[in-house]
């Protein structure tokens, strides 16, 4: 009843091609945006900002980036952590060496640096596919980790190897409190998600998906594998680089290379698998799931009043979390995005059987 599209006639192809071509979807997105920009700041506290909202949003950007590469273009990558590190260290060095640079520019340029590195490490994809490419990107991960740990210039010769960032200012506004950081990240996420959605539903996205589904057929309709694959690596690495810079500056504040190790790569990869490969919405759902469920599991024994040691809780957390991932993959291999689509499909008819 609520989600009925009868009576909504599309009279032009541009209306039919709109992102949210159904009025209810538009309302839903409006409400979510309103909640995000107004609702959350009214109720959230410091803990919610720093442990929930900011991490989920930043990693959503990384997940969108990886999803463009793996979900849309079909190139498996295990180098996400490394590319995030490139973004983070690029932002650190830009802010350090070019004082008073606008932070929007800092983050954008660190994305560009990650993009260049990503294209470089994407070159093997022109020759190798699947598992072999995954191994090649794994090499990128280890190489980048090694470079940031060993090449002292990147960390400005800090003796401990860890770097710390200073104040972040934007047009005279200091982005220092959690709520300001949150709003800044949220605004970036909205812009970047919209840009990603536009790319994947246009010519570029079609050429990525064509390359993913049937590379031979893509070539005979005139899509150059070089352009399609490297553009996917470029866009993907840009998103991941920006996410890395944001993670360093707004989530961590100070970090060492370990913050962007192989576990980070797997974390983002799980996000897009659980959320849904080839779906922008899925990137958000996956990021939320991977961040929120461990927090929830960690708090659960306490909430239920079960006395357990911290160590036991964290062990159980790992086990239950792993089991949940396996369970979801068996029940819905296409991820949350697919569940969401099925739910909408059902809702169109509800409450009638057909």
């Amino acid at each position: 009843m609520l989600y009925r599209e009868a009576g909504q006639f599309k009279t032009s192809y541009s209306a039919d091609q709109a992102i949210f071509s159904i009025a209810q979807d538009r309302w839903f997105v409006m409400i979510v945006l309103l909640l995000g920009f107004v609702g959350v700041p009214l109720v959230a506290n410091q803990y919610l900002y720093t442990e929930v909202f900011i991490p989920v949003l930043i990693l959503s950007i990384a997940a969108i980036g990886l999803n463009i590469l793996t979900g849309y273009c079909g190139q498996v990558s295990l180098g996400t952590g490394g590319f995030m590190a490139v973004g983070a260290y690029a932002a650190y060095n830009l802010a350090l060496r070019i004082p008073d640079m606008n932070f929007i520019l800092v983050f954008a340029l660190s994305g560009v640096v990650a993009m260049l590195v990503g294209v470089l490490f994407g070159l093997p994809s022109l020759r190798i596919k699947g598992f072999y490419l995954a191994v090649a990107t794994l090499a990128a991960q280890f190489f980048l980790e090694w470079a940031f740990a060993r090449v002292k210039w990147f960390t400005n010769y800090a003796p401990s190897g860890s770097v710390a960032v200073g104040k972040i200012e934007l047009f005279g506004f200091a982005i220092d409190t959690p709520d300001r950081k949150y709003l800044f990240v949220l605004a970036l996420v909205v812009v970047m998600a919209l840009a990603a959605k536009n790319m994947v539903r246009g010519r570029l996205g079609r050429s990525w998906m064509a390359m993913r589904d049937m590379d031979i057929a893509a070539e005979i309709i005139g899509i150059r594998p070089l352009n399609a694959k490297l553009s996917a690596f470029a866009v993907s690495s840009f998103y991941i680089g920006v996410a890395g810079a944001l993670w360093g500056f707004l989530r961590l504040g100070s970090w060492e290379p370990l913050a962007f190790d192989i576990n980070r790569s797997f974390q983002v990869l799980f996000m897009i698998i659980i959320g849904g490969l080839g779906s922008i919405l899925g990137s958000f759902l996956g990021a939320a799931f991977i961040i929120l469920v461990p927090i929830f599991l960690n708090q659960l024994p306490h909430l239920l009043g079960i006395p357990l040691s911290t160590a036991a809780v964290s062990h159980i957390e790992f086990m239950v979390f792993g089991a949940m991932i396996v369970f979801f993959l068996i029940v819905e291999p296409n991820g949350f995005a697919r569940l969401w689509a099925i739910a909408k499909e059902k809702l169109r008819l509800w409450p009638f059987p057909y």
Binding site: S12, Y13, S14, Q17, A195, N198, M199, G202, R203, L204, R206, S207, M209, A210, R212, D213, M214, I216, A217, A218, E219, I220, I221, G222, I223, R224, P225, S231, G278
Partner: protein, 266 residues
């Protein structure tokens, strides 16, 4: 859709010629000294028993395989090595024997993908998706909708092609090739695995494409009835060699062709 005839080549002129092409893989000789030509606006059939080298021939024409010797002249340009996307740019489209669609994409997106070469807006425009980029998207959507109407697949345009029955997938694949507005359309067994009704539909589409758009067509087919009815000229391959070339009636009476099909010792 514009008629593709008359791009520097008048009707009846030779649009593609294959001269003395040989192709081998290791010890296997797939094609030996094959020569034939395709005239503008005709339907040219390539037939032959299994393993005769028909698909290899198509693969050579659109650049998947590079022949060891021989020349291919397309629209007056002779070439040695060419990648498939360059063939596409030159105006050669094709379909595959075992449907090669983009399974995760809708029928509409598959056919839209066929127009990739015609779309030129840069990445930044696509990100913004306003003004020229949106206009371009809508303009090409109009063309694609014409093809969708022509192939009578309007009802399935928003369904991922992986879920479509085989006959419709073949039709979507033809649509994707047509979206490129090719000069030369290569069809590799367009009717394989179809029932009689689907074959009749597909034959009608092929004739319509040839008549209305003037597209030159080269097709491989096993159903002799279809081949004889559709094609203007037929070339017959056997064991990688050309054994006959001519009108359907000539070819039907050719003793070598009869031997090849009935299996007289070579």
């Amino acid at each position: 859709m514009r008629a593709s005839a008359g791009q520097g080549v008048a009707a009846g002129d030779i649009v593609l010629s294959v001269e003395d092409v040989s192709l081998g893989f290791g010890g296997v000789q797939a094609l030996t000294g094959v020569s034939f030509d395709i005239r503008n606006g005709e339907i040219r059939a390539i037939i032959g028993p299994n393993g005769a080298g028909k698909t290899s021939m198509l693969n050579v024409i659109n650049g998947f395989y590079h022949p060891q010797s021989g020349r291919i002249t397309f629209k007056g340009k002779t070439r040695s090595k060419m990648r498939p996307y360059e063939a596409a740019r030159g105006g050669i489209a094709r379909t595959f024997q075992n449907v090669a669609l983009f399974k995760g994409m809708t029928a509409l997106d598959n056919i839209m993908a066929g127009r990739t070469l015609k779309m030129h807006r840069g990445v930044l425009w696509q990100i913004l998706r306003v003004g020229p980029a949106l206009a371009e998207e809508v303009e090409h959507r109009l063309k694609v909708e014409e093809i969708i109407d022509f192939l009578e697949i309007a009802h399935i345009r928003k369904i991922p092609v992986g879920r479509l029955p085989y006959g419709l997938q073949k039709r979507v694949e033809l649509g994707r090739a047509l979206a490129m507005e090719p000069n030369l359309l290569l069809l590799d067994e367009p009717m394989a695995g179809m029932n009689l009704e689907e074959k009749e539909d597909m034959s009608r589409f092929i004739i319509d494409v040839n008549n209305h758009f003037g597209t030159t067509i080269a097709l491989i087919e096993h159903d002799m009835g279809v081949v004889m009815d559709l094609s203007d000229r037929v070339v017959v391959l056997d064991y990688g060699r050309k054994i006959a070339d001519g009108t359907p009636d000539d070819v039907k009476r050719d003793q070598k062709v009869i031997d090849a099909y009935l299996g007289v010792g070579h």
